[in-house]
Symmetry: C2
Subunit: 141 residues, 2 copies
DNA sequence: GATACAATCTACAGTAGCTGTAGAAGCAAG
DNA sequence: CTTGCTTCTACAGCTACTGTAGATTGTATC
């Protein structure tokens, strides 16, 4: 209502860089709890929702699936539970994360090398395609 | 047919780690050319298809959209064209790639730090969630 | 108080990029 | 010739959103 610590869905959207529809979607699939409503039925949020949603968005952008995020959130919702489960989820990601970093770095250096030299050349001589193909097929290099 | 350099969709799938349905899907959306068919209508592929599909798969796993891959492939299909376009596509990705690397590295070191200490503890003390939340909300750290 | 305009509501359709399934046909081995 | 795997087409389903329609509410202005 007029509680200063209490704000609307649009504010939550702005604070977290999330679309309003996406917030409602997360509520629907149970990532966000059903919020309090005003007398007229509008959702109201607080600082805890900002943290939770930021957690979700960053998890997503780092490649965690909604289900993995769900289990991490469930864990933090029930802090008495053993956290080996969280560590297991995290470990599953570690290898994948390291591989992604390595491949992104390979691509990055290829792109950096190309950026200066490529403009105006012919595609036949273009190293971008070569670079990605090379990342794809190191055995052919 | 009995051409040794010519193989079936299942072989292409195995050689590239792609699902058969996905190969047909790429053909449908124009990423892969319509292949030759045997008399009975089965698709036949060759080494060039393996390279092209590997390029596509690696591009995808590195975060390139199908449309971006399409334009890179179009470029390599018409090597006489100017490659500034390819460089532009690449440059658009460079910034994003660097940001991803940075965030993945932040998460990586958080996960590495957690891995040894976390098992058996309580979720309340678990640093995995904290770590991801931290990556999510650096301003709160 | 009337009016305009933005924000919100529900409900549902559409998108990207696959993935799975059904049912028929082809092919290779025993 | 039968068993069993692969392939075929066609289409439905999935994940994670994103957009749109039409109604309602809240707010600022006259």
């Amino acid at each position: 209502m007029s509680d200063p610590a209490c704000f609307a869905i649009g504010d939550l959207a702005r604070q977290t860089g999330t679309k309003v529809n996406t917030i409602r979607f997360y509520e629907e699939i149970g990532l966000l709890p059903c919020p309090m409503r005003t007398a007229s039925g509008r959702r109201t949020y607080n600082a805890a929702d900002v943290r939770r949603l930021s957690f979700i968005r960053h998890g997503r952008s780092l490649g965690f699936s909604v289900d993995e995020i769900r289990s991490l959130l469930a864990l933090s919702d029930q802090p008495e539970r053993d956290c080996g489960e969280a560590a297991a989820i995290a470990r599953q990601h570690l290898r994948d994360i390291e591989e992604r970093i390595a491949r992104l770095q390979t691509l990055r250096s290829a792109l950096v090398g190309v950026a200066a030299s490529c403009d105006g050349g012919r595609a036949a001589d273009c190293r971008v395609i070569e670079a990605i193909a090379g990342v794809a097929l190191p055995a052919n290099a």
